[in-house]
């Protein structure tokens, strides 16, 4: 094949080659079957890529889109205007006080009405892991322990945190604070059918919870060996 780079072949195929360069390229194609075949192959590929995406999304009417995005009512809130300042952890991370109280209420209610122990206690207004949740966070390396699943362990600027999810459909992040596990993030979703039940979507942590974790994490999630080392050192 005559000396043509891949870039020049695709530039020709894409119609981005003009003037004398194009004329010279086409002259070479006439003399060089390999080059001509290469051009044919790339043209075929372009047709296939276009064919593989046969349904360009409807662009939509601009006013309809503006309504949907709240642009016409002047009510799109810039993210920065309502985002909490980043902290290693703290009660402010909770999405809302109401959600938090619902979650805590759930645990308290269950501890009263069943044999399930209380998983969360309040200390100076802050939720602290207790009972089997505290036990799982302190002693489980990972995985499930009956009603509680410990998914991942990671470092933050403030220390070590672990994610958890309970069979009561509550997920959260617990962070080591001295000898306790403070819970700066919890989430639950409300069932549409029963106002006394709360659930998370199927799967482990919700996307919003993982987004919170992503804001907190320093580095990558810790592996089994690192977690085991932290457990031995009492999570310090």
């Amino acid at each position: 094949m005559t000396d043509h780079s891949d870039e020049s072949v695709i530039a020709y195929v894409d119609g981005r080659m003009e003037g004398a360069e194009r004329i010279a390229f086409e002259a070479n194609m006439g003399k060089d079957a390999t080059l001509s075949e290469c051009v044919g192959t790339h043209r075929w590929l372009v047709r296939q890529i276009v064919a593989a995406y046969p349904e360009p999304i409807e662009e939509g009417d601009e006013q309809e889109l503006a309504d949907r995005l709240g642009l016409r009512e002047n009510n799109v809130r810039p993210i920065s205007s309502h985002r909490e300042p980043r902290q290693p952890w703290g009660w402010a991370w909770i999405a809302g006080a109401m959600a938090a109280s619902l979650v805590i209420g759930l645990f308290v209610g269950q501890s009263r009405s069943s044999s399930t122990d209380s998983l969360i206690a309040l200390s100076d207004g802050r939720p602290i892991a207790s009972g089997s949740l505290a036990d799982s966070l302190s002693n489980r390396l990972s995985g499930e322990n009956g009603a509680i699943r410990i998914a991942m362990t990671f470092r933050t600027r403030g220390g070590v945190c672990r994610t958890f999810q309970t069979s009561q459909n509550v997920g959260g992040v617990a962070c080591r604070d001295g000898s306790r596990w403070v819970i700066p993030v919890m989430e639950a979703t409300k069932s549409s059918s029963d106002s006394t039940e709360y659930r998370l979507a199927a799967g482990a942590l919700s996307p919003s919870l993982m987004a919170r974790v992503d804001q907190m994490i320093v580095g990558e999630p810790l592996g089994p060996k690192e977690v085991a080392g932290l457990k031995r050192s009492n999570w310090r």
């Binding site: 780079s5 891949d6 870039e7 695709i10 530039a11 894409d14 981005r16 192959t41 790339h42 075929w44 590929l45 372009v46 047709r47 296939q48 890529i49 276009v50 064919a51 593989a52 995406y53 046969p54 349904e55 360009p56 999304i57 662009e59 939509g60 009417d61 601009e62 006013q63 889109l65 503006a66 995005l69 642009l71 016409r72 002047n74 799109v76 809130r77 810039p78 993210i79 920065s80 205007s81 799967g203 482990a204 996307p207 993982m210 987004a211 974790v213 992503d214 994490i217 990558e220 999630p221």
Partner: protein, 168 residues
Amino acid sequence: MSDLRRELVALLPRLRRLAWLVVRNEQDCDDLLQKTVERVLARSDGWTPGTRLDHWVFRIMKNLWIDEVRMRGRWGRLVEALPAEDEIDDRGIGADTMLDTVELARLRERVEDLPEEQRMAVKLVLLGEYSYAEAAELLEIPQGTLTSRLARGRAALLKHYQSGETRH
């Protein structure tokens, strides 16, 4: 309504099309569009009137998506599955005569599996029909880098065919 807001509204249909090129499914598309609009309004001081609003907005969108991809890479289970093969119809150019729908679906997977930098270059130029200069400006890279990414991405796609993965 401010000038920026008015121009942004006029830009929305095209912006949604761009979002569709960048992401992998409609849900992501709408989420990315929403986040982009929020970010644009939050950083409205960063736009100089008289300059290309579409390019500025797209760069914001692109960076938001790159952040999202990085986060999903960390939390791999969030990555959305590609559309099922039976969702790919055969109305595309040449679909009836050159490849069956399964092979087109496979090619689409290959495109989506390209490194992000190559995938964006391929999509903007071949599906978005942007010129090299426009695509390079949108991606904030020199034109030579764009053509290099285009060539590498397309070479990788051809390699799949030449390795006998499909009937071609």
